[in-house]
Symmetry: C2
Subunit: 212 residues, 2 copies
DNA sequence: TTCATGGAAGCTGAATACAGTTGAATCGAA
DNA sequence: TTCGATTCAACTGTATTCAGCTTCCATGAA
């Protein structure tokens, strides 16, 4: 741990986010500050600062005199999170300068092809998919919107990890990526945004199936 | 200060938000934790927790080994914040059950009329306007979206306080409120959302004029 | 057995203490 | 005088301490 310069709470918050997302801090679990601080090798002070931050993002819930808990998994919440992230990303796409998007096309194509290859090989696309979306929105100049997106995605990722969806979902998603790229090339940002919203909305369709 | 049950950081965060919004903590100012903690009558611990929270929302910026600062005012940022809040609120409106909206109509009308009266009397509409928007979206069931809205608005409020816009903006805004209500009554949520977006977009038009 | 009660251990929330960094003022040399 | 080094006060970041609340177990009465 410990990145140069940055305060401890930064690394701690990222670490805990990872634990929540992948379930190492399971849903509904209480956070024991003393234990966790010891485990991370920091004192309770920067740990608590990180917890406060994550609670503000909805990734933890604070209960007075009872500390912090991982929110319980709630399919209804998940069904609302997918469209939310979809709308946020679509907004970011619509607010990206078209010429900047065109400039990203090549790299987006490349990554899409790489994903095709990985899919053929039966590999895991989740990281690549995240990167692709990140690249797609990397030219959006609205910093606050981008912050909201980055802060909201881990909430959803928690469900995404659970309900993987398998190769058929990956297939579908990749097709949607293709359509997004086609729309961008055709200078039809509205269509691209529509497809992007759809891409996320479809994620919700796999909720409840294929828990791994 | 000190609300029953809630941790100190809650009250402290709200208090500081108020100070930033109304300029008592001016743009670009550094926060002195020792002084501010003494002034608020709390220790640095809950104060810092509040500062961390606000920095995560973009209402403060953290500089390593240099503490927290109020972000400088930036018209370009403001021009992006108005549409952002507009889109978020429009989304919340579209995601509100139509019957719930109809149930709010009477109270929304009432408040609109009250605002008309206050406008006639030359009073300040900002608080009433906030309340009206709050009521309009009070039935939206997407908790995470609502959290994003609540957390984002203070960023914008800072500019709203500076560029008041005067009675002509209030007039315009009230007319837009009327159109929103009419669209809701006509069961045309898309039109209502469009008008709501417009309502916020117009706010940006007054940026730069009428600094008070 | 079941339920209420007491109390101790453990935990959180807040205050205080400590350490390392920053920044500004002072001093000295060119 | 000006530039640079140096020192020191002030401040932040982190650790530790303290107080009060929770929780759980043990005890005992109904």
């Amino acid at each position: 741990m410990s990145q140069s310069g940055a305060p401890l709470r930064r690394d701690v918050a990222e670490h805990i986010t990872g634990r929540i997302v992948d379930g190492r801090l399971p849903a509904a679990a209480r956070v024991n500050e003393v234990h966790l601080a010891a485990e991370l090798g920091v004192s309770r002070t920067p740990l608590r600062e990180a917890l406060v931050e994550l609670a503000d993002r909805g990734l933890l819930v604070a209960e007075p005199n009872r500390g912090f808990r991982v929110p319980p998994l709630d399919l209804d919440e998940a069904r609302k999170l997918y469209p939310l992230v979809g709308e946020l990303e679509a907004l970011a796409l619509r607010w990206t300068a078209p010429q900047d998007l065109l400039g990203l096309l090549d790299r987006l194509e490349q990554q899409a092809e790489q994903m095709e290859a990985v899919l053929e090989g039966g590999g895991d696309l989740s990281v690549l998919d995240d990167n692709w979306h990140g690249l797609l929105l990397s030219a959006c100049a609205n910093a606050h919107l981008m912050r909201l997106i980055v802060q909201t995605k881990p909430l959803l990722k928690r469900y995404d990890v659970l309900y993987f969806g398998g190769p058929e979902r990956a297939r579908r998603s990749l097709d949607e990526h293709r359509r997004i790229l086609a729309a961008i090339r055709a200078q039809d940002l509205n269509e691209a945004a529509r497809q992007l919203t759809q891409n996320w909305a479809n994620g919700a369709a796999y909720l409840g199936c294929r828990p791994r």
